[in-house]
């Protein structure tokens, strides 16, 4: 059964089309990633799921209910962690938990939740004094205090240092183990590859691909990419004749060969046979990043770096 279905969603703000045509379904119990550069329409899409915005066209169903018409019921069953949402500076962790706990008809146990999120020692600490990672974990704790069936996490790890980011990933994996459906919004390809059972790649308000991160990269004909500097000249043909190699490119003395299957083993073998040593040898798997570039014709990271003027928050 699908926990969330989005069907031909369209939403505009004035003349700006934020979401043009988005459809996907999130199955119960999976971690589903909504992935794309800033300004792609990810946040608007999940805001329609959260019932914070009403679609201009299309339908959204969460646990079979309309987020607007069944607002009260869904607020009991969907936990939301918003991007850039704070708490009053002088509110302590324990006070925030007790307050939010009182909103739900079947809340979780505060102590268990704080222990799981590593906040037990900070429970008397005021919000203002918490570190970035602690604030983020508190935000997740508040999203989970109502024992939701669906958790929506928006830009979970933005602004966190690498350690805190890995901690937040462990928390999300923990949610899957408990059978909670997770809708994860992110612009980190690596985060999506690591956590998500399936992802929807969104660009300019449209879904460009939906699927399992591994199968999306496989569909691309990818698999492996091998890069090296050759100790002696050789003809491209040497490698292109190998059964697994699809493409060979050179930039100066840097050679890149891509293909499916066991590219690295075949390439190194062929080079050894003609006495060429591959220096600075590097083997990568093709990533979601490559999928994104192939499908949109643009590098994903370059779009990200324009961040400031393509922000997704709307008045």
């Amino acid at each position: 059964m699908a926990a969330i279905t989005i069907d031909h969603l369209h939403k505009r703000y004035g003349d700006t089309v934020a979401v043009d045509d988005v459809s996907f379904a999130v199955e119960c119990g999976e971690i589903f990633g909504v992935l794309g550069p800033n300004g792609a329409g990810k946040t608007t899409t999940v805001e329609c799921v959260e019932g914070l915005r009403q679609p201009d066209r299309g339908t959204v169903r969460v646990l079979g209910l309309d987020p607007h018409r069944h607002r009260d019921e869904l607020r009991q069953r969907v936990g939301v962690q918003l991007q850039d949402s704070e708490l009053p500076d002088k509110l302590t962790v324990a006070e925030a938990m007790d307050l939010y706990r009182s909103f739900y008809r079947a809340p979780a146990d505060t102590t268990t939740l704080l222990e799981r999120l590593g906040l037990m020692d900070s429970r008397r600490t005021r919000y203002k004094k918490l570190s970035g990672g602690q604030k983020q974990r508190l935000s997740i704790a508040l999203a989970l205090i109502g024992q939701p069936e669906v958790a929506v996490l928006d830009e979970l790890s933005t602004g966190l240092d690498p350690t805190a980011r890995r901690e937040s990933w462990a928390i999300v994996e923990d949610l899957r183990d408990q059978g909670i459906t997770v809708l994860l919004v992110t612009h980190f390809m690596e985060e999506a590859e690591r956590l998500c059972d399936r992802v929807a790649l969104i660009d300019a308000g449209r879904v460009v691909a939906v699927g399992n991160p591994a199968s999306l990269t496989e569909q691309l004909g990818g698999g492996q990419r091998i890069r090296f500097r050759a100790s002696a000249p050789f003809a491209d043909r040497l490698l292109l004749d190998l059964p697994d190699v699809d493409q060979v490119t050179r930039r100066g003395d840097l050679v890149t060969a891509t293909g499916t299957g066991d590219v690295a083993a075949h390439v190194t073998g062929a080079l050894a046979a003609v006495g060429v040593v591959p220096h600075q040898l590097q083997v990568d798997r093709t990533s979601l990043e490559d999928v994104f570039v192939t499908l949109t014709g643009r590098p994903h990271r370059a779009t990200c770096s324009q961040g400031a003027n393509t922000s997704e928050s709307h008045p």
Binding site: E50, G51, L52, D72, E73, R75, Q76, V78, V80, L82, D84, S85, E86, L87, P88, K90, L91, E95, D98, L99, Y100, S102, F103, Y104, R105, A106, L142, G146
Partner: protein, 256 residues
């Protein structure tokens, strides 16, 4: 909605009570607003009491401290309503606190209600404090028309809180809201008689002050302290301001 799903544990405080308690605690953790809203008016009352002579014909036959009691009641109400409330609410909106609450079952309207309740409660407590200290320390008579006094206090608070909500609705952030509250506070307190009591104002100015919210408030409080039912024109002035501010605040309030 669905009675079978109502599993609220019996005896647990309602979300509204929790919110009100939390908002009250947060308010009590802010020393500066508490100083201006409570300690400072009490200090003024002490100064007025200390320098008060006998009944003064220029002050309508009242003692200076008796003239200032209603002015200070207006002062505390306006401080919490115009500076405390909008600063907190606009700050909550600016920082996404209202948005986060909007994703929970509590409903943002309860947050507004909790804020209004807490600010009203603190202003009323300070009002009682002013009346009691005035009576015990300086022998000022308790309000001669208590029902009229209560009506006047509540209407004055309603007008100020509605204006506070309007400021919170229009200000883009907490800092602007605080500044706007202060800018409105001082001229309104002028017409309330903080610097020149109404009785000693030139007649045109006094006449005009009755059409300002705090001018009308102080006049009604003064009348009811003296044992009279407040003038209906003053109560009507307060009611009209309350209605206009409340409608405008409802019209312009944004949650994010």
């Amino acid at each position: 909605m669905n009675p079978t799903l109502d599993l609220t544990p019996t005896g647990a405080p309602s979300p509204f009570k929790r919110l009100a308690v939390v908002e009250a605690k947060l308010l009590l953790r802010e020393p500066i607003p508490l100083f201006w809203g409570i300690a400072f008016p009490m200090l003024l009352l002490g100064v007025m009491g200390a320098f008060s002579g006998g009944p003064d014909p220029e002050l309508g036959g009242l003692r200076l401290v008796a003239v200032y009691e209603p002015i200070l009641v207006a002062f505390v109400t306006a401080t919490f309503a115009l500076q405390g409330l909008p600063t907190v609410l606009a700050g909550y909106r600016e920082r996404g606190i209202l948005r986060r609450l909007d994703t929970t079952p509590v409903g943002v309207h309860r947050v507004l209600a909790a804020q209004l309740t807490v600010n009203l409660a603190v202003a009323m407590t300070a009002t009682v404090g002013i009346i009691l200290v005035g009576r015990v320390a300086f022998g000022v008579a308790l309000p001669g028309q208590p029902a009229g006094f209560l009506v006047a206090v509540l209407l004055a608070a309603a007008a100020m809180l509605a204006l506070g909500l309007l400021i919170a609705a229009l200000a883009p952030n907490g800092r602007v809201a605080g500044a706007a509250g202060s800018i409105l506070f001082f001229p309104m307190m002028f017409f309330a008689g903080l610097w020149v009591p109404q009785a000693t104002m030139p007649s045109a100015l006094r006449h005009f002050s009755h059409f300002t919210p705090l001018g009308a408030a102080v006049q009604s409080l003064q009348d009811s302290m003296g044992g009279h039912w407040p003038h209906s024109s003053d109560l009507a002035t307060l009611a009209v301001y309350t209605t206009v501010f409340a409608i405008a605040a409802t019209r312009f309030f944004r949650w994010d």
